[in-house]
């Protein structure tokens, strides 16, 4: 199968502590790939390594190899900004720029990366992204109001629209629903399934049920390592590893 992400023996150390200890992973194109595991297992770090947001952390060393869409992410010649254009990200806390308008939040990525040649093209792109994120109908009459006026769920969908507007090939989602109520969570889960047509999605979740609901493939992480990975149906019905079984049946810890 044609894979979009290859991770080879990835070690990440932050301030003298090994967070990832030799991770190997392959992610096929246009699937939803869930990474689940208990807190502190290194899920978020793995995700942040993929678009080099980890570069912002003090005392970081990365060893190993990550290839995303043919680009060697940690090669010394690779510009992290270029990686981040291919790999969009949605964070755990909905983080639109609060005083920026809804429109400007979505337009920010295309503006930074000069994706639109004209105002009309930018308008079209913003509308497309907001429609994809199921937000257009709720905000079309108030595109110029500050993003902070939206509800938490709407803000998170705005962040998804913002990431989509860059037309990324991979979308990283770091526990995108952990700060939302059940209604907003359901909406976002539906949206994620729909988005599979556009991008490859890597979603980190500490909730095994969410992983089983949305993903095609799943990896279980524990203590900085991938314990087991495979198609979601198989992992949830016939896990090979005892730890995985304990985790998905909720008998962990």
């Amino acid at each position: 199968m044609d894979s979009i992400i290859y991770i080879e023996n990835l070690w990440v150390n932050i301030s003298g502590r090994d967070i990832l200890k030799g991770v190997n992973l392959e992610v096929p194109r246009n699937v939803i790939f869930a990474i689940m595991g208990p807190s502190g297992s290194g899920k978020s770090t793995l995700l942040r390594a993929l678009n080099r947001i980890l570069d912002l952390y003090e005392g970081l060393t990365v060893k190993g190899k990550i290839i995303v869409d043919g680009v060697d992410v940690y090669d010394s010649k690779t510009d992290p900004s270029v990686v981040r254009r291919t790999v969009g990200m949605v964070f755990q806390i909905p983080n639109p720029i609060p005083n920026m308008s809804i429109y400007d939040n979505v337009a920010l990525g295309p503006k930074i990366n000069k994706l639109a040649k004209s105002r009309a093209e930018l308008d079209g792109l913003v509308r497309w992204a907001l429609e994809k994120a199921y937000l257009w109908d709720e905000v079309k009459d108030r595109l110029q109001t500050p993003a902070s006026k939206l509800s938490g769920g709407q803000q998170q969908r705005l962040c998804i629209a913002r990431a989509l507007a860059m037309k990324p090939k991979v979308l990283l989602m770091d526990e995108p629903t952990s700060n939302l109520d059940t209604v907003a969570t359901t909406k976002i889960e539906e949206l994620i399934v729909e988005l599979k047509k556009e991008v490859t999605i890597l979603i980190v979740t500490h909730n095994p049920f969410q992983a089983s609901r949305v993903s095609d493939h799943v990896a279980f992480m524990y203590d900085g390592q991938i314990v087991e990975t495979g198609p979601t149906g198989q992992i949830f019905t016939r896990p090979r590893n005892k730890l995985t079984e304990k985790y998905i049946t909720g008998k962990f810890g």
Binding site: E58, S81, R84, M89, F91, N95, P98, I112, N113
Partner: protein, 297 residues
Amino acid sequence: MKTLLSTRKLKSAVVFISLLAAFLLALLLVGHIVATVTYRGLAVVASNFPRIFFDIPAVPGVREVGGVGPHLLGTALLVTIAFSIGVPISLLAAIFTAESLKPWERKLGKMTRLMTHMLIEFPTIVVGLSVYGIMSALTPYMKTLIPGFKPFSLLSGAVALFLVSVPYMYAQIEDGLKSIPQHVREAVYSLGAGRLLTSYILLKYLKSTVYAALSIGLARMVSETAALFFTAFGSDVYPLFDIQMLFRPIGSLTLAVYYFGLTGYENWVDLSWAASFILFVLSLVLFIASRLLLRGR
């Protein structure tokens, strides 16, 4: 239960009354300063309007006061030079230290932060004296390049104002950048923005902090006196407009307030009050302008 409630109410009342008293005291002091400066200065400015803004001071001991034209020009020149160099440097330094990524940058950033915070605490007269010392040491060498180079000069004055004000502006902007939640910063980086562009977007998000920092910095420059004693030195005549102007002493409004106010000549004391009033109005205009600018955005 009842006594508990009443002690709580009593405490609340005590705090409220002391706050009110402190507020009234502050208002009284500020009111007194404003009233005195206006009362003594406005009359002099009004009866010599508009000559007071252009003339040089009259000789001591006569009825005329003359004007503070050279001092006004001096303040404008000093502040323009110091501010136009100071703003980009404060912004870039703040971006460098708050948004540093590589280990050596972080180390240098920490040192920069420590040194600037020390510089803020420095008495400004010491800052002026240090600039004088450096300029004096440089004079023999500089004279071979620029024959008119002197340690008492417009250049030294501008450097001193720069050193007095830039640490403030830098520290305020840097604190602002540091106060931005990490997840907002990560959001901007995740969209493919480089460090400078990210900082620009974050600074736009912080614009009220940035404007406040810059207007405080500007106000400090306009009102600074002690740092100018050993640097700009003061002058009561208009400078000749040539390139050498940078290397000759220059007057400032604050120095005018100080020097004329110290003398026993009535007309010079009046001139000192007039200069104080002009300085006060200038600060007020800057303050209001910055507020309007902020609201207009």
